[in-house]
Amino acid sequence: MAIAALGLVSVFGAGCEEQTPVALDDEALPGAPISVTVLIPWSEFASNLEVFGGYGSAEDIGRGVLAEDFAGTLDARTLMRIGSYPRVATVQDTTGASRPDSTLTIFGGRFVAFFDTIESTNAAPVTLALGATSEEWDETTASWDFAVDTINDQRPWTEPGGGPVVPVAQAVWDPAAGDTVVFALDSAQVAAWADTTDLSVGARIDILDTGERLALRRALVRLDARPSSNPDTIIELSAVTRGSTFIYSPFPQPPPDGVRIGGAPSWRTILDVGIPAIIDGIPDFCAVVSCPHTLTPGEISYAALVLTSRATEAAFQPTDSIRLDVRPVLNRAAMPKSPLGTSLIVSPFGRSVGPDAFGSAPGFEIEIPFTGFARDRLRGTDASGNPTPETLALLSVVEPFSITFASFEGPQSAGEPYLKLVLTIGPPVELP
């Protein structure tokens, strides 16, 4: 009997999967919401646009730039320190056995540089010069005019552009032949670069041909050495470079009427944003929604700042995609040092914009979505109840990322930024 009762209940239990019935027609739906796109001009949602520069250092990129009168203006040179030479190598001795040898005689070498063939502008061979720096310089703060530019220590180069250098070698780089260029080093120069404690020791690479801008990915020193355990053998060792930076001139001035993002050191553009609480006077909107309409956060289905690209100064035009980010500024009064909030863009890679938008095809509209921020801004607080910052910063996802930067039209121009809102507005759900 007990088994029978349990079996009966089990049958009931097996048949108890819950399935909500799906009504057959739209009559069972409450009123349909309306979806409408609203474009809000700059003057009605934003103000106080300001451009700040100086974020990060060219050293942070870890790559170099070479230019000589590029676009009629830009000169750029790359400075780098030479790392410690290897002191021990495993070599075969005269008996053929492999063993460590710490008594190496370095008698020559080569300086090998690797270029980015895509980002570099030249298609033809260019002549490069390698020199040895002769003045103390600081890789983090060095600029075209200053060898050291830290607090309480500002030392200009005796010659702007990296000071006088001791010429080491010249070489020709033909991008059609590969991405590598090799400078021959004599034993004296190899010995001179072995001192890693002297702050004046370093290498400088210049481009001698005009009108091109080269992107240097990395460089190293190949050393020719003779081991004591097998003097008849020549081995090759590598010393990496460290502290690579680039200096350039002229340094761009902040745009008086536009938006700038990127560069090295990086530029940021900040602006105050307010989401209009009442929508009125927009014919397309008022044709479908009773105006004036008081906007609620839940009605914002999509919000984006729309920027119109414009041509960047030729010397700093991007040759690769720029990745844009937008973050709330937590304390505008503390700018340019205000901390920023987390990114408002879902993708960790930011909003990618092709280089043509800032060169050959300006006028391209780019949407930078910030729907969640717009809702919080309208509500006045975020999900945690904290006040929502009213200032946004437009910046590069990685700072700095390149000497190039993105430029956009500013307020009061034909392509001024505007706010794009997709609103979904529906009647309240009522009882049947």
Binding site: M1, A2, A4, A5, L6, L8, V9, S10, F12, G13, G15, C16, E17, E18, Q19, T20, P21, V22, A23, L24, D25, D26, E27, A28, L29, P30, A32, P33, S35, T37, G298, E299, I300, S301, Y302, V346, P369, T371, K420, V422, T424, G426, P428, V429, E430, L431, P432
Partner: protein, 394 residues
């Protein structure tokens, strides 16, 4: 034997409890839930279902809020619990068809002798309101057409909590009074999503929702008389308005709905050795509810039921009375201005699990119904099972 029976009772009670706990959400059992205030769910046990009853006038022991007078006949402390899964096939004229299933717990109650009578607490279902519907559309957000999907989900029910007292008036008569409190909630949520599954647009989902709490009162008075070979019972349920109170976050408004006075009458007669014949009817005019409805039509919830019980049947050495019935009851809410009825043929049996000195301490009642609900455009054929456990003497 007594030990075996006691064990059986405990096992059955535990199993029924497990069943209840395992499927607690009481979901929908009809597409007509989308009409008006939903579909009535009567608080009936397995015996009443099997005999086609509307919940009144059954001979023997019963504990249903629709028959307050019968409580006085229980005599000893009694508890009841019922589970009722159903399997529904539907078809729409010239359109789609399909099936769904669900479970509900229409009745739980306990009665205890006090002050020379029987006091009771019962929780019963009243209106089933859950359903969902999706509408696919298209809108232009400025960059060309974008697919929209409006998904609406209504989840909720109205139930009632009843406190009752009944007392025997002499050998033949009894009377009872039950005060009921309507409770439950209704959650209605509309979500609009943009783009299709493969191209989820970066436009966020729009959500508009509301939650209402149901409140209201009812008073049910009834009496029964045990005449020679016949038990007759009648009751009247007088409700206040059913009020839906919106939560603080709900933009929608509060609303109140008129509920009908419901009259019930039923009788069971012994027409031969171990043969009982039962008939019952309910009169409920829901048309006054129409005025407060935004959608749907309100009509009659009246109906009747007929049944027979053959009490000499046995199963596994136990008394297992066989029951058969027919029922025809109107559904109060419809999509169109038309009358919709639910018709069922039913069968079932009872099983005495434990009996001492002629008092059934534990018993199961099972019914299986085959039914039909139909309107001009929609037909539902369904199987519904009801299993109830009645225990006494705890």
């Amino acid at each position: 034997m007594t030990t075996f029976s006691t064990t059986t009772t405990r096992v059955a009670a535990a199993a029924l409890l497990m069943l209840g706990v395992g499927a607690l959400p009481a979901h929908a059992q009809s597409l007509f839930n989308a009409a008006g205030l939903g579909t009535p769910v009567e608080a009936l046990d397995g015996r009443a279902r099997a005999m086609g009853s509307v919940g009144i006038g059954l001979a023997g022991r019963s504990m249903m809020p629709t028959d307050p007078g019968a409580l006085a006949r229980l005599g000893i402390s009694t508890g009841v619990m019922a589970a009722s899964p159903s399997w529904v096939d539907y078809s729409e004229v010239g359109n789609r068809s399909g099936s769904f299933q669900g479970n509900r717990f229409p009745l739980m109650g306990i009665g205890y002798p006090v002050l020379g009578g029987m006091a009771s607490i019962q929780i019963g279902s009243f209106l089933d309101q859950s359903y969902e519907v999706t509408r696919i559309g298209e809108t232009d957000l400025g960059d060309g057409p974008v697919r929209t999907s409006d998904a609406f989900v209504q989840d909720g029910a109205v139930s009632n909590l009843n406190l009752g007292f009944a007392r025997a008036l002499g050998e033949r008569y009894s009377a009872g009074l039950t005060i009921g409190r309507y409770a439950g909630s209704l959650d209605r949520t509309l979500e609009r999503t943009y783009g299709d599954e493969t191209d989820a647009a970066n436009v966020d989902t729009y959500i508009e929702s509301g939650v209402w709490s149901w409140t209201g009162w009812s008073l049910t008075a009834g009496g029964s008389a045990d005449l020679e070979n016949v038990r007759v019972a009648a009751s009247v349920q007088i409700p206040t308005q059913l009020t839906g109170t919106a939560s603080q976050e709900t933009r929608g408004s509060d609303r109140s709905f008129s509920l009908p006075v419901q009259y019930r009458i039923g009788a069971t007669a012994s027409v031969g050795p171990s043969v009982l014949v039962h008939g019952s009817a309910v009169l409920a005019d829901w048309s006054d509810t129409q005025g407060a409805l935004n959608a749907g039509f309100a009509g009659s919830g009246s109906g009747f039921g007929l049944g027979v019980e053959l009490s000499r049947a046995r199963l596994l050495g136990k008394d297992a009375p066989l029951r058969f019935g027919f029922r025809r009851v109107g559904l109060p809410f419809a999509f169109e201005d038309e009358a919709i009825t639910e018709r069922t043929f039913s069968g079932g049996f009872g099983l005495v699990l434990n009996e001492t000195a002629g008092i059934v301490l534990a018993g199961l009642d099972l019914s299986i119904e085959r039914g039909l609900r139909s309107s001009a455009n929609l037909t539902e054929n369904f199987w519904r099972a009801t299993l109830s456990l009645l225990t006494s003497g705890f």
